[in-house]
Protein backbone atom coordinates (compact mmCIF):
# COMPACT_ATOMS: atom_id res chain seq x y z
CA UNK A 1 0.00 0.00 0.00
CA UNK A 2 2.71 2.46 0.90
CA UNK A 3 4.43 1.69 -2.39
CA UNK A 4 1.15 2.23 -4.14
CA UNK A 5 0.74 5.51 -2.36
CA UNK A 6 4.16 6.78 -3.22
CA UNK A 7 3.90 6.09 -6.92
CA UNK A 8 0.62 7.95 -6.82
CA UNK A 9 1.29 11.12 -4.95
CA UNK A 10 4.68 12.11 -6.15
CA UNK A 11 3.87 12.72 -9.84
CA UNK A 12 0.76 14.59 -8.78
CA UNK A 13 2.95 16.95 -6.86
CA UNK A 14 5.31 17.43 -9.79
CA UNK A 15 2.38 18.21 -12.03
CA UNK A 16 1.03 20.80 -9.69
CA UNK A 17 4.34 22.46 -9.07
CA UNK A 18 4.98 22.71 -12.81
CA UNK A 19 1.51 24.02 -13.46
CA UNK A 20 1.95 26.70 -10.83
CA UNK A 21 5.27 27.74 -12.33
CA UNK A 22 3.75 28.08 -15.79
CA UNK A 23 0.77 29.86 -14.37
CA UNK A 24 2.96 32.30 -12.48
CA UNK A 25 5.04 33.03 -15.55
CA UNK A 26 1.89 33.65 -17.61
CA UNK A 27 0.55 35.84 -14.84
CA UNK A 28 3.69 37.96 -14.91
CA UNK A 29 4.17 38.04 -18.66
CA UNK A 30 0.62 38.62 -19.81
CA UNK A 31 -0.23 40.78 -16.81
CA UNK A 32 -3.96 40.67 -17.24
CA UNK A 33 -6.60 40.55 -14.59
CA UNK A 34 -7.93 37.41 -16.22
CA UNK A 35 -4.91 35.49 -14.94
CA UNK A 36 -4.73 36.11 -11.20
CA UNK A 37 -1.62 35.40 -9.15
CA UNK A 38 -1.26 31.84 -7.89
CA UNK A 39 -0.77 32.92 -4.26
CA UNK A 40 -3.95 34.94 -4.26
CA UNK A 41 -5.81 32.01 -5.76
CA UNK A 42 -4.40 29.56 -3.24
CA UNK A 43 -5.44 31.82 -0.47
CA UNK A 44 -8.95 31.91 -1.88
CA UNK A 45 -8.92 28.17 -2.50
CA UNK A 46 -8.03 27.26 1.05
CA UNK A 47 -10.36 29.80 2.58
CA UNK A 48 -13.19 28.32 0.53
CA UNK A 49 -12.11 24.74 0.87
CA UNK A 50 -15.35 23.69 2.42
CA UNK A 51 -17.77 24.63 -0.35
CA UNK A 52 -15.19 23.57 -2.94
CA UNK A 53 -15.01 20.07 -1.55
CA UNK A 54 -18.75 19.75 -1.83
CA UNK A 55 -18.61 21.02 -5.41
CA UNK A 56 -15.86 18.53 -6.18
CA UNK A 57 -17.85 15.71 -4.65
CA UNK A 58 -20.88 16.52 -6.75
CA UNK A 59 -18.81 16.66 -9.94
CA UNK A 60 -16.90 13.53 -9.03
CA UNK A 61 -20.09 11.56 -8.67
CA UNK A 62 -21.49 12.81 -11.95
CA UNK A 63 -18.31 12.06 -13.86
CA UNK A 64 -17.95 8.68 -12.23
CA UNK A 65 -21.46 7.62 -13.16
CA UNK A 66 -21.06 8.92 -16.71
CA UNK A 67 -17.72 7.15 -17.18
CA UNK A 68 -18.97 3.86 -15.79
CA UNK A 69 -22.04 4.00 -18.01
CA UNK A 70 -19.87 4.90 -20.98
CA UNK A 71 -17.69 1.89 -20.31
CA UNK A 72 -20.67 -0.41 -19.92
CA UNK A 73 -22.09 0.76 -23.21
CA UNK A 74 -19.02 1.69 -25.23
CA UNK A 75 -16.84 -1.28 -24.47
CA UNK A 76 -19.13 -4.05 -25.73
CA UNK A 77 -20.27 -2.06 -28.74
CA UNK A 78 -16.74 -1.00 -29.63
CA UNK A 79 -15.54 -4.58 -29.32
CA UNK A 80 -18.42 -5.88 -31.41
CA UNK A 81 -17.70 -3.36 -34.15
CA UNK A 82 -14.01 -4.19 -34.08
CA UNK A 83 -14.64 -7.91 -34.28
CA UNK A 84 -17.46 -8.27 -36.76
CA UNK A 85 -16.97 -7.02 -40.27
CA UNK A 86 -20.69 -6.54 -40.84
CA UNK A 87 -21.12 -4.34 -37.80
CA UNK A 88 -18.02 -2.40 -38.77
CA UNK A 89 -19.42 -1.77 -42.23
CA UNK A 90 -22.74 -0.68 -40.79
CA UNK A 91 -21.93 1.14 -37.58
CA UNK A 92 -18.55 2.73 -38.19
CA UNK A 93 -19.98 5.14 -40.76
CA UNK A 94 -22.78 5.91 -38.35
CA UNK A 95 -20.24 6.68 -35.64
CA UNK A 96 -18.38 8.91 -38.06
CA UNK A 97 -21.56 10.80 -38.74
CA UNK A 98 -22.66 11.09 -35.12
CA UNK A 99 -19.30 11.65 -33.50
CA UNK A 100 -18.56 15.23 -34.61
CA UNK A 101 -22.01 16.51 -33.73
CA UNK A 102 -21.78 18.91 -30.78
CA UNK A 103 -23.90 17.08 -28.26
CA UNK A 104 -24.47 20.29 -26.33
CA UNK A 105 -26.77 21.36 -29.13
CA UNK A 106 -29.12 18.61 -28.01
CA UNK A 107 -29.41 20.02 -24.53
CA UNK A 108 -33.10 20.76 -25.12
CA UNK A 109 -33.71 17.15 -26.07
CA UNK A 110 -31.80 15.94 -23.05
CA UNK A 111 -33.76 18.25 -20.80
CA UNK A 112 -36.98 17.09 -22.33
CA UNK A 113 -36.17 13.42 -21.93
CA UNK A 114 -34.30 13.47 -18.67
CA UNK A 115 -35.46 16.57 -16.86
CA UNK A 116 -33.26 19.28 -15.44
CA UNK A 117 -31.64 17.19 -12.74
CA UNK A 118 -28.59 14.99 -12.52
CA UNK A 119 -29.90 12.48 -15.03
CA UNK A 120 -29.77 14.92 -17.90
CA UNK A 121 -26.31 16.13 -16.87
CA UNK A 122 -24.95 12.62 -16.69
CA UNK A 123 -26.60 11.70 -19.98
CA UNK A 124 -25.06 14.70 -21.67
CA UNK A 125 -21.59 13.69 -20.51
CA UNK A 126 -22.27 10.10 -21.39
CA UNK A 127 -23.24 11.07 -24.90
CA UNK A 128 -20.15 13.19 -25.28
CA UNK A 129 -17.71 10.48 -24.25
CA UNK A 130 -19.32 7.23 -25.30
CA UNK A 131 -18.69 7.59 -29.02
CA UNK A 132 -15.06 8.42 -28.52
CA UNK A 133 -14.75 5.33 -26.35
CA UNK A 134 -16.42 3.16 -28.98
CA UNK A 135 -14.09 4.43 -31.69
CA UNK A 136 -10.97 3.85 -29.59
CA UNK A 137 -12.04 0.43 -28.52
CA UNK A 138 -12.90 -0.45 -32.08
CA UNK A 139 -9.48 0.68 -33.25
CA UNK A 140 -7.84 -1.22 -30.42
CA UNK A 141 -9.65 -4.42 -31.31
CA UNK A 142 -8.71 -4.03 -34.94
CA UNK A 143 -5.07 -3.68 -33.92
CA UNK A 144 -4.97 -7.09 -32.24
CA UNK A 145 -2.68 -9.33 -34.31
CA UNK A 146 -5.02 -11.65 -36.24
CA UNK A 147 -2.64 -14.40 -35.35
CA UNK A 148 -3.88 -14.41 -31.76
CA UNK A 149 -7.34 -15.29 -32.95
CA UNK A 150 -5.95 -18.14 -35.00
CA UNK A 151 -4.38 -19.50 -31.84
CA UNK A 152 -7.72 -19.33 -30.07
CA UNK A 153 -9.38 -20.90 -33.07
CA UNK A 154 -6.91 -23.77 -32.84
CA UNK A 155 -8.35 -24.48 -29.40
CA UNK A 156 -11.87 -24.25 -30.82
CA UNK A 157 -12.41 -21.47 -28.35
CA UNK A 158 -15.95 -20.23 -27.96
CA UNK A 159 -16.71 -16.58 -28.49
CA UNK A 160 -16.69 -15.75 -24.79
CA UNK A 161 -13.30 -17.37 -24.41
CA UNK A 162 -11.88 -15.28 -27.21
CA UNK A 163 -13.04 -12.21 -25.36
CA UNK A 164 -11.86 -13.42 -22.01
CA UNK A 165 -8.40 -14.57 -23.07
CA UNK A 166 -7.51 -12.37 -26.02
CA UNK A 167 -9.68 -9.36 -26.69
CA UNK A 168 -9.96 -8.00 -23.17
CA UNK A 169 -6.31 -8.30 -22.17
CA UNK A 170 -5.18 -7.10 -25.57
CA UNK A 171 -7.22 -3.91 -25.50
CA UNK A 172 -6.72 -3.23 -21.81
CA UNK A 173 -3.87 -0.73 -22.34
CA UNK A 174 -5.96 1.03 -24.96
CA UNK A 175 -8.97 1.11 -22.72
CA UNK A 176 -6.93 2.80 -20.03
CA UNK A 177 -5.60 5.23 -22.55
CA UNK A 178 -9.03 6.14 -23.80
CA UNK A 179 -10.41 6.17 -20.30
CA UNK A 180 -7.98 8.97 -19.57
CA UNK A 181 -9.23 10.86 -22.56
CA UNK A 182 -12.86 10.22 -21.65
CA UNK A 183 -12.34 11.46 -18.15
CA UNK A 184 -10.51 14.51 -19.41
CA UNK A 185 -13.35 15.26 -21.77
CA UNK A 186 -16.06 14.69 -19.19
CA UNK A 187 -14.33 16.97 -16.73
CA UNK A 188 -14.08 19.66 -19.36
CA UNK A 189 -17.70 18.97 -20.18
CA UNK A 190 -18.80 19.69 -16.64
CA UNK A 191 -18.50 23.27 -17.74
CA UNK A 192 -21.52 22.71 -19.96
CA UNK A 193 -23.33 20.01 -18.07
CA UNK A 194 -23.27 21.86 -14.79
CA UNK A 195 -24.38 25.17 -16.16
CA UNK A 196 -28.07 24.72 -15.72
CA UNK A 197 -30.41 24.07 -12.87
CA UNK A 198 -27.77 23.25 -10.33
CA UNK A 199 -25.82 25.09 -7.71
CA UNK A 200 -23.35 22.30 -7.07
CA UNK A 201 -20.40 21.08 -9.03
CA UNK A 202 -17.04 22.44 -10.04
CA UNK A 203 -18.33 23.21 -13.51
CA UNK A 204 -21.04 25.39 -12.03
CA UNK A 205 -18.54 26.99 -9.70
CA UNK A 206 -16.21 27.97 -12.52
CA UNK A 207 -18.97 29.12 -14.79
CA UNK A 208 -20.65 31.31 -12.25
CA UNK A 209 -17.30 32.82 -11.30
CA UNK A 210 -16.69 33.47 -14.95
CA UNK A 211 -20.00 35.20 -15.37
CA UNK A 212 -19.30 37.27 -12.31
CA UNK A 213 -15.87 37.99 -13.79
CA UNK A 214 -14.33 36.91 -10.52
CA UNK A 215 -11.12 35.40 -11.83
CA UNK A 216 -9.62 34.47 -8.51
CA UNK A 217 -12.70 32.43 -7.80
CA UNK A 218 -12.66 30.99 -11.29
CA UNK A 219 -9.07 29.90 -11.00
CA UNK A 220 -9.64 28.23 -7.68
CA UNK A 221 -12.44 26.32 -9.40
CA UNK A 222 -10.07 25.38 -12.18
CA UNK A 223 -7.56 24.23 -9.58
CA UNK A 224 -10.22 22.08 -8.01
CA UNK A 225 -11.00 20.61 -11.41
CA UNK A 226 -7.35 19.88 -12.10
CA UNK A 227 -7.06 18.29 -8.72
CA UNK A 228 -10.04 16.12 -9.48
CA UNK A 229 -8.57 15.21 -12.85
CA UNK A 230 -5.17 14.34 -11.45
CA UNK A 231 -6.69 12.15 -8.80
CA UNK A 232 -8.67 10.32 -11.46
CA UNK A 233 -5.59 9.99 -13.66
CA UNK A 234 -3.36 8.91 -10.81
CA UNK A 235 -5.91 6.27 -9.91
CA UNK A 236 -6.04 5.04 -13.49
CA UNK A 237 -2.24 4.87 -13.67
CA UNK A 238 -2.16 2.73 -10.54
CA UNK A 239 -4.98 0.56 -11.79
CA UNK A 240 -3.26 0.12 -15.12
CA UNK A 241 -0.03 -0.97 -13.48
CA UNK A 242 -1.97 -3.48 -11.42
CA UNK A 243 -4.02 -4.90 -14.25
CA UNK A 244 -1.35 -5.08 -16.93
CA UNK A 245 1.52 -6.76 -15.06
CA UNK A 246 3.04 -8.08 -18.27
CA UNK A 247 3.96 -4.67 -19.59
Amino acid sequence: MSKLKRSFHQPLLIGFVLMIVIWYVLHLVIATRTIPAPVETFDYFFRHLNPLIIHMGASLLRVLVAVILALLIGLPIGIAIGRRKVLDKLLSPLLYVIYPIPKVAFLPVFMLLFGLGNVSKVMLMLFIIVFQLMLSVRDGVKDIPPHYFKVMQSFSAKRQHQYRYVVLPAILPRVFSSLRISIGISLATLFFAENYATTYGVGYFILSAWMKMNYVEMFSGIMALSLLGSVFFGFIDVLEKKLTPWL
Partner: protein
Protein backbone atom coordinates in the same frame (compact mmCIF):
# COMPACT_ATOMS: atom_id res chain seq x y z
CA UNK B 1 -18.25 71.69 -39.47
CA UNK B 2 -17.76 68.21 -40.64
CA UNK B 3 -15.55 68.24 -43.65
CA UNK B 4 -16.72 64.97 -45.04
CA UNK B 5 -20.36 65.76 -44.60
CA UNK B 6 -21.64 65.13 -48.09
CA UNK B 7 -24.76 63.18 -47.11
CA UNK B 8 -27.91 63.51 -49.07
CA UNK B 9 -29.88 60.97 -47.08
CA UNK B 10 -32.67 61.52 -44.58
CA UNK B 11 -33.13 65.27 -44.49
CA UNK B 12 -35.11 65.77 -41.33
CA UNK B 13 -32.32 64.71 -39.06
CA UNK B 14 -29.63 66.54 -40.88
CA UNK B 15 -28.71 68.52 -37.84
CA UNK B 16 -25.33 69.61 -38.96
CA UNK B 17 -24.89 71.73 -35.87
CA UNK B 18 -22.23 69.51 -34.12
CA UNK B 19 -21.28 71.97 -31.41
CA UNK B 20 -17.70 70.73 -31.50
CA UNK B 21 -15.49 72.02 -34.18
CA UNK B 22 -14.06 68.54 -34.51
CA UNK B 23 -14.76 66.05 -37.26
CA UNK B 24 -14.71 62.26 -36.81
CA UNK B 25 -11.22 60.78 -36.95
CA UNK B 26 -12.34 57.83 -39.01
CA UNK B 27 -10.49 55.44 -36.73
CA UNK B 28 -12.18 52.05 -36.45
CA UNK B 29 -14.58 51.84 -33.56
CA UNK B 30 -15.41 48.25 -32.73
CA UNK B 31 -18.81 47.61 -31.22
CA UNK B 32 -20.10 44.34 -29.80
CA UNK B 33 -23.68 43.36 -30.51
CA UNK B 34 -26.00 40.56 -29.53
CA UNK B 35 -28.81 39.18 -31.66
CA UNK B 36 -31.29 41.27 -29.71
CA UNK B 37 -33.63 44.04 -30.60
CA UNK B 38 -31.38 46.66 -28.98
CA UNK B 39 -28.66 46.07 -31.55
CA UNK B 40 -30.89 46.79 -34.51
CA UNK B 41 -30.26 50.52 -34.91
CA UNK B 42 -26.50 49.98 -34.86
CA UNK B 43 -26.69 47.19 -37.39
CA UNK B 44 -28.95 49.17 -39.70
CA UNK B 45 -26.83 52.31 -39.39
CA UNK B 46 -23.88 50.26 -40.52
CA UNK B 47 -25.62 48.38 -43.28
CA UNK B 48 -27.43 51.44 -44.59
CA UNK B 49 -24.20 53.37 -44.72
CA UNK B 50 -25.18 56.09 -42.21
CA UNK B 51 -21.94 55.70 -40.31
CA UNK B 52 -19.91 55.90 -43.43
CA UNK B 53 -21.78 58.97 -44.57
CA UNK B 54 -20.89 60.74 -41.36
CA UNK B 55 -17.28 59.68 -41.60
CA UNK B 56 -17.31 57.35 -38.64
CA UNK B 57 -15.79 53.95 -39.14
CA UNK B 58 -17.80 51.43 -37.13
CA UNK B 59 -17.08 47.73 -37.07
CA UNK B 60 -19.55 45.30 -35.57
CA UNK B 61 -18.55 42.13 -33.74
CA UNK B 62 -21.49 39.87 -33.17
CA UNK B 63 -21.72 37.70 -30.08
CA UNK B 64 -24.12 34.96 -29.30
CA UNK B 65 -23.97 35.29 -25.56
CA UNK B 66 -23.41 38.20 -23.17
CA UNK B 67 -20.67 36.20 -21.57
CA UNK B 68 -18.55 36.07 -24.71
CA UNK B 69 -19.11 39.76 -25.20
CA UNK B 70 -17.87 40.44 -21.69
CA UNK B 71 -14.82 38.34 -22.35
CA UNK B 72 -14.02 40.27 -25.51
CA UNK B 73 -14.49 43.54 -23.69
CA UNK B 74 -12.02 42.50 -21.04
CA UNK B 75 -9.60 41.40 -23.68
CA UNK B 76 -9.65 44.96 -24.96
CA UNK B 77 -11.08 43.87 -28.27
CA UNK B 78 -14.10 46.18 -28.12
CA UNK B 79 -14.42 49.94 -27.90
CA UNK B 80 -18.07 49.82 -27.10
CA UNK B 81 -20.94 47.42 -26.78
CA UNK B 82 -24.53 47.09 -25.90
CA UNK B 83 -24.92 46.02 -22.30
CA UNK B 84 -26.53 47.16 -19.12
CA UNK B 85 -25.91 49.27 -16.05
CA UNK B 86 -24.83 46.43 -13.83
CA UNK B 87 -22.37 45.08 -16.37
CA UNK B 88 -20.85 48.53 -16.69
CA UNK B 89 -20.57 48.86 -12.94
CA UNK B 90 -19.06 45.39 -12.62
CA UNK B 91 -16.42 46.20 -15.22
CA UNK B 92 -15.55 49.49 -13.64
CA UNK B 93 -15.36 47.74 -10.31
CA UNK B 94 -12.77 45.39 -11.81
CA UNK B 95 -10.67 48.23 -13.09
CA UNK B 96 -11.89 48.50 -16.66
CA UNK B 97 -12.83 52.08 -17.34
CA UNK B 98 -16.19 52.34 -19.12
CA UNK B 99 -19.00 54.82 -19.35
CA UNK B 100 -22.63 54.53 -20.21
CA UNK B 101 -23.38 56.83 -23.10
CA UNK B 102 -27.05 56.13 -23.77
CA UNK B 103 -29.91 53.74 -23.30
CA UNK B 104 -31.05 51.24 -25.89
CA UNK B 105 -34.39 50.09 -27.22
CA UNK B 106 -35.10 46.99 -25.27
CA UNK B 107 -38.06 45.24 -23.77
CA UNK B 108 -37.90 42.28 -21.41
CA UNK B 109 -40.94 40.08 -21.13
CA UNK B 110 -41.91 37.85 -18.26
CA UNK B 111 -43.50 34.64 -19.51
CA UNK B 112 -45.03 31.59 -17.91
CA UNK B 113 -45.06 28.09 -19.25
CA UNK B 114 -47.99 26.93 -21.40
CA UNK B 115 -49.36 24.32 -18.97
CA UNK B 116 -48.64 26.19 -15.77
CA UNK B 117 -51.97 27.91 -15.69
CA UNK B 118 -50.20 31.08 -14.57
CA UNK B 119 -51.60 34.12 -16.28
CA UNK B 120 -50.68 36.96 -13.98
CA UNK B 121 -47.43 38.14 -12.47
CA UNK B 122 -48.36 37.49 -8.88
CA UNK B 123 -49.04 33.84 -9.54
CA UNK B 124 -45.31 33.41 -9.97
CA UNK B 125 -44.98 33.58 -6.21
CA UNK B 126 -43.00 30.62 -4.97
CA UNK B 127 -42.57 29.26 -8.50
CA UNK B 128 -39.45 28.31 -10.46
CA UNK B 129 -38.28 31.11 -12.71
CA UNK B 130 -35.38 30.55 -15.04
CA UNK B 131 -32.92 33.34 -15.67
CA UNK B 132 -29.24 34.23 -15.58
CA UNK B 133 -28.54 35.53 -12.09
CA UNK B 134 -26.65 38.70 -11.22
CA UNK B 135 -27.50 40.55 -14.39
CA UNK B 136 -30.31 42.55 -15.88
CA UNK B 137 -32.66 39.57 -16.07
CA UNK B 138 -32.59 39.00 -12.34
CA UNK B 139 -32.85 42.69 -11.65
CA UNK B 140 -36.01 43.07 -13.69
CA UNK B 141 -37.54 39.96 -12.16
CA UNK B 142 -36.66 41.27 -8.72
CA UNK B 143 -38.34 44.55 -9.52
CA UNK B 144 -41.54 42.77 -10.51
CA UNK B 145 -41.32 40.58 -7.43
CA UNK B 146 -40.86 43.61 -5.21
CA UNK B 147 -43.78 45.27 -6.89
CA UNK B 148 -46.04 42.29 -6.33
CA UNK B 149 -44.42 41.53 -3.02
CA UNK B 150 -43.60 37.91 -3.73
CA UNK B 151 -40.56 35.70 -3.84
CA UNK B 152 -39.59 33.11 -6.41
CA UNK B 153 -36.97 30.41 -6.95
CA UNK B 154 -34.21 30.89 -9.50
CA UNK B 155 -33.41 28.01 -11.83
CA UNK B 156 -30.22 29.00 -13.53
CA UNK B 157 -30.16 28.14 -17.23
CA UNK B 158 -27.75 30.39 -19.08
CA UNK B 159 -28.37 28.98 -22.52
CA UNK B 160 -31.13 30.76 -24.45
CA UNK B 161 -32.44 27.62 -26.03
CA UNK B 162 -32.21 25.61 -22.84
CA UNK B 163 -34.35 28.14 -21.05
CA UNK B 164 -36.85 28.34 -23.87
CA UNK B 165 -37.28 24.61 -24.16
CA UNK B 166 -37.49 24.13 -20.42
CA UNK B 167 -40.35 26.65 -20.44
CA UNK B 168 -42.21 25.12 -23.36
CA UNK B 169 -41.87 21.67 -21.82
CA UNK B 170 -43.20 23.03 -18.52
CA UNK B 171 -40.08 22.08 -16.62
CA UNK B 172 -39.99 25.56 -15.17
CA UNK B 173 -42.85 27.93 -14.47
CA UNK B 174 -41.56 31.27 -15.58
CA UNK B 175 -38.88 32.85 -17.64
CA UNK B 176 -37.66 36.28 -18.65
CA UNK B 177 -36.71 36.97 -22.24
CA UNK B 178 -36.14 39.83 -24.64
CA UNK B 179 -37.42 40.04 -28.14
CA UNK B 180 -37.32 38.32 -30.56
CA UNK B 181 -37.32 35.16 -28.40
CA UNK B 182 -40.21 36.30 -26.21
CA UNK B 183 -42.54 36.69 -29.16
CA UNK B 184 -41.64 33.27 -30.45
CA UNK B 185 -42.41 31.72 -27.10
CA UNK B 186 -45.77 33.45 -26.87
CA UNK B 187 -46.60 32.06 -30.31
CA UNK B 188 -45.87 28.62 -28.95
CA UNK B 189 -48.23 28.91 -26.03
CA UNK B 190 -46.30 30.74 -23.33
CA UNK B 191 -48.30 33.34 -21.40
CA UNK B 192 -47.14 36.94 -21.35
CA UNK B 193 -47.19 38.27 -17.79
CA UNK B 194 -45.42 41.60 -18.04
CA UNK B 195 -43.03 43.84 -19.90
CA UNK B 196 -40.16 45.87 -18.55
CA UNK B 197 -40.92 48.68 -20.90
CA UNK B 198 -44.49 48.99 -19.77
CA UNK B 199 -43.34 48.86 -16.18
CA UNK B 200 -40.81 51.57 -16.96
CA UNK B 201 -37.82 49.54 -15.97
CA UNK B 202 -34.80 50.44 -18.03
CA UNK B 203 -31.41 48.89 -17.58
CA UNK B 204 -30.02 48.32 -21.06
CA UNK B 205 -27.30 50.68 -22.20
CA UNK B 206 -24.73 51.43 -24.80
CA UNK B 207 -21.32 51.80 -23.23
CA UNK B 208 -17.90 52.82 -24.43
CA UNK B 209 -14.45 52.63 -23.01
CA UNK B 210 -13.08 55.72 -21.31
CA UNK B 211 -10.36 55.78 -23.91
CA UNK B 212 -12.79 55.97 -26.79
CA UNK B 213 -14.74 58.67 -25.06
CA UNK B 214 -11.73 60.92 -24.53
CA UNK B 215 -9.97 60.19 -27.80
CA UNK B 216 -12.84 60.09 -30.27
CA UNK B 217 -15.64 62.37 -29.05
CA UNK B 218 -16.52 63.52 -32.55
CA UNK B 219 -16.77 59.95 -33.74
CA UNK B 220 -19.17 59.17 -30.95
CA UNK B 221 -21.32 62.19 -31.71
CA UNK B 222 -21.48 61.11 -35.30
CA UNK B 223 -22.18 57.57 -34.16
CA UNK B 224 -25.29 58.72 -32.33
CA UNK B 225 -26.39 60.82 -35.26
CA UNK B 226 -26.29 57.78 -37.45
CA UNK B 227 -27.94 55.73 -34.72
CA UNK B 228 -30.84 58.11 -34.59
CA UNK B 229 -31.09 58.12 -38.38
CA UNK B 230 -31.40 54.37 -38.24
CA UNK B 231 -34.15 54.62 -35.60
CA UNK B 232 -36.04 57.00 -37.84
CA UNK B 233 -35.54 54.67 -40.76
CA UNK B 234 -36.96 51.80 -38.74
CA UNK B 235 -39.97 53.76 -37.65
CA UNK B 236 -40.73 54.75 -41.22
CA UNK B 237 -39.95 51.59 -43.05
CA UNK B 238 -41.68 48.27 -43.32
CA UNK B 239 -39.35 45.67 -41.80
CA UNK B 240 -39.65 43.41 -44.82
CA UNK B 241 -37.58 45.92 -46.71
CA UNK B 242 -34.54 45.19 -44.62
CA UNK B 243 -35.34 41.58 -43.82
CA UNK B 244 -32.26 40.44 -45.70
CA UNK B 245 -30.14 42.40 -43.21
CA UNK B 246 -32.03 40.77 -40.36
CA UNK B 247 -31.32 37.38 -41.87
CA UNK B 248 -27.65 38.13 -42.28
CA UNK B 249 -27.43 39.00 -38.60
CA UNK B 250 -29.27 35.84 -37.71
CA UNK B 251 -32.54 37.30 -36.50
CA UNK B 252 -35.40 34.86 -36.81
CA UNK B 253 -37.91 35.41 -39.56
CA UNK B 254 -40.53 36.28 -37.00
CA UNK B 255 -38.54 39.42 -36.21
CA UNK B 256 -39.97 41.29 -39.20
CA UNK B 257 -43.50 40.52 -38.11
CA UNK B 258 -42.72 41.61 -34.60
CA UNK B 259 -41.21 44.88 -35.79
CA UNK B 260 -44.16 45.70 -37.99
CA UNK B 261 -46.72 44.97 -35.30
CA UNK B 262 -44.88 46.74 -32.57
CA UNK B 263 -47.30 49.32 -31.07
CA UNK B 264 -44.86 52.04 -30.06
CA UNK B 265 -42.12 53.41 -32.23
CA UNK B 266 -38.41 53.02 -31.59
CA UNK B 267 -36.83 55.86 -29.70
CA UNK B 268 -33.78 57.94 -30.33
CA UNK B 269 -30.84 57.35 -28.04
CA UNK B 270 -31.75 58.67 -24.62
CA UNK B 271 -30.50 58.83 -21.09
CA UNK B 272 -30.92 56.53 -18.14
CA UNK B 273 -32.39 58.66 -15.41
CA UNK B 274 -30.47 59.02 -12.22
CA UNK B 275 -33.10 57.42 -10.06
CA UNK B 276 -33.22 54.29 -12.12
CA UNK B 277 -29.44 54.22 -12.22
CA UNK B 278 -29.11 54.44 -8.47
CA UNK B 279 -31.65 51.69 -7.90
CA UNK B 280 -29.73 49.38 -10.16
CA UNK B 281 -26.40 50.21 -8.54
CA UNK B 282 -27.87 49.55 -5.14
CA UNK B 283 -29.25 46.23 -6.28
CA UNK B 284 -25.92 45.28 -7.87
CA UNK B 285 -24.09 46.10 -4.69
CA UNK B 286 -26.53 44.04 -2.67
CA UNK B 287 -25.73 41.10 -4.93
CA UNK B 288 -22.05 41.45 -4.14
CA UNK B 289 -21.25 42.16 -7.76
CA UNK B 290 -19.53 45.42 -6.97
CA UNK B 291 -17.55 46.33 -3.90
CA UNK B 292 -18.39 49.99 -3.71
CA UNK B 293 -21.16 52.23 -4.81
CA UNK B 294 -20.81 54.34 -7.96
CA UNK B 295 -22.38 57.67 -8.65
CA UNK B 296 -24.29 58.67 -11.72
CA UNK B 297 -21.48 60.98 -12.79
CA UNK B 298 -18.83 58.35 -12.39
CA UNK B 299 -20.45 55.95 -14.80
CA UNK B 300 -22.34 58.01 -17.30
CA UNK B 301 -21.56 60.49 -20.03
CA UNK B 302 -24.60 61.38 -22.08
CA UNK B 303 -22.95 64.34 -23.80
CA UNK B 304 -22.86 62.67 -27.20
CA UNK B 305 -26.58 62.26 -27.51
CA UNK B 306 -27.42 65.77 -26.37
CA UNK B 307 -26.73 66.94 -29.89
Amino acid sequence: ACGSNNDTSEEENNTDDASENLSPTGETITIGTLPAEGSLPIILALEKGYFEDLGVNVEIKTFTSPNDRNVALQAGELDGTIGDVMTTAAFVDRGIALKITSDINEDFKILSSPDSGITSMNELAGQDVSLVPNFILEYIMDEFAAEGDFTYTIVEIPSFAGRAEALLENQIDGVIFTEPQAGLLVQQGAHLLGSSKEAGIKGGTLLFTEETITDYPADLTAFYQAYNQAVDYMNKTDATEYSDILTTYQFPEAMSTYLNNKPDPYEHAGVIDEDQFNRIIEWTESKGQITSSYTYDQLTDFSFINK
